[in-house]
């Protein structure tokens, strides 16, 4: 139950940050592929860096254990990414 409340609140914060970064707009997503608006990359990479520092710091202190890390299977990840890019550039989602 507590997990569901957490999911709702965290999801809302997630959606809020996406909206404020402009990622809910078609042009923002497509323009990163046209290489003339790097907002998506700035947003993603900032989030990555902040979360990496926090998560590895907390794990170092022994406060958390990592959840199941997405599996690495080179062909699947790459081919999936390649198809995904087509859809992303087409729809802008």
């Amino acid at each position: 139950m507590i997990n569901y409340v957490a999911a709702l609140v965290l999801g809302a914060a997630f959606g809020f940050s996406l909206n404020k970064a402009g990622l809910t707009k078609y042009q923002k997503i497509v323009n990163v592929f046209r290489l003339n608006d790097m907002a998506v990359l700035k947003f993603m990479m900032t989030a990555l860096v902040v979360a990496m520092i926090g998560l590895y710091g907390l794990r170092g202190l022994g406060l958390i254990t990592f959840p199941v890390v997405p599996a690495t299977y080179i062909v699947g990840n790459l081919v999936g990414g390649l198809i995904f890019g087509v859809g992303m550039a087409l729809t802008g989602y």
Binding site: G11, L18, M52, G54, N77, F84, A89
Partner: protein, 178 residues
């Protein structure tokens, strides 16, 4: 307090500021729920009900992506309302307003103003997205961002592929105007 109000009513933040917020959300997700911020998984958990109705012994929906009201599904509900709150806070919520079915000026320049075109492309594009997320094991949020912050190699392979084909697709769509 006034400063906070002013920031909340801005339509766009600096992507760095929004990124920091998402980073904190990512940390809290692991801390509180020991989960990741996946978006595509929730859709698969729901679509699995249709899949299983047609083919009850389907391996994928029984073992890889079991059906159910999972963490991912609830998260999606939260994302929906969070996005709405974000838009409402800056007064840009388009719900029920004129032109909300196809609001983007750049999209209209490239494909035309027809609403059905937008919806058709969104529908088939989303099938491509979800199919690809199924192959790769996640989408931009669940694999690239959530996996990336755990330094999973899969995430970086995915980002590589995504940008390679995304740039190529954009080149084809925009041709001279790239």
């Amino acid at each position: 307090m006034n400063w906070l109000k002013q920031q909340l009513s801005k339509e766009l933040w600096s992507p760095y500021a929004a990124g920091i917020l998402l980073g904190i959300v990512g940390i809290l997700t692991v801390l509180i729920a020991n989960s990741l911020l996946g978006a595509s998984g929730g859709f698969e958990n729901l679509a699995g009900y249709i899949g299983k109705a047609i083919q009850p012994n389907n391996m994928y929906f029984n073992f890889v992506m079991p059906t159910g009201i999972t963490w991912g599904v609830i998260l999606l509900v939260g994302v929906f309302f969070g996005g709405m709150i974000g838009a409402a806070s800056s007064g840009t919520l388009m719900w029920g307003k004129k032109g909300s079915a196809n609001p983007d000026a750049q999209w209209k320049r490239v494909f035309g103003p027809q609403v059905w075109k937008r919806w058709l492309l969104a529908f088939f594009g989303a099938i491509i997205l979800e199919y690809a997320a199924g192959i790769a094991g996640g989408c931009t949020s669940g694999l690239a961002i959530s996996g990336g912050m755990l330094l999973a190699p899969a995430a970086f392979l995915f980002i590589l592929g995504m940008f390679a084909s995304g740039i190529l697709t954009a080149l084809i769509i925009y041709r001279k105007n790239y």
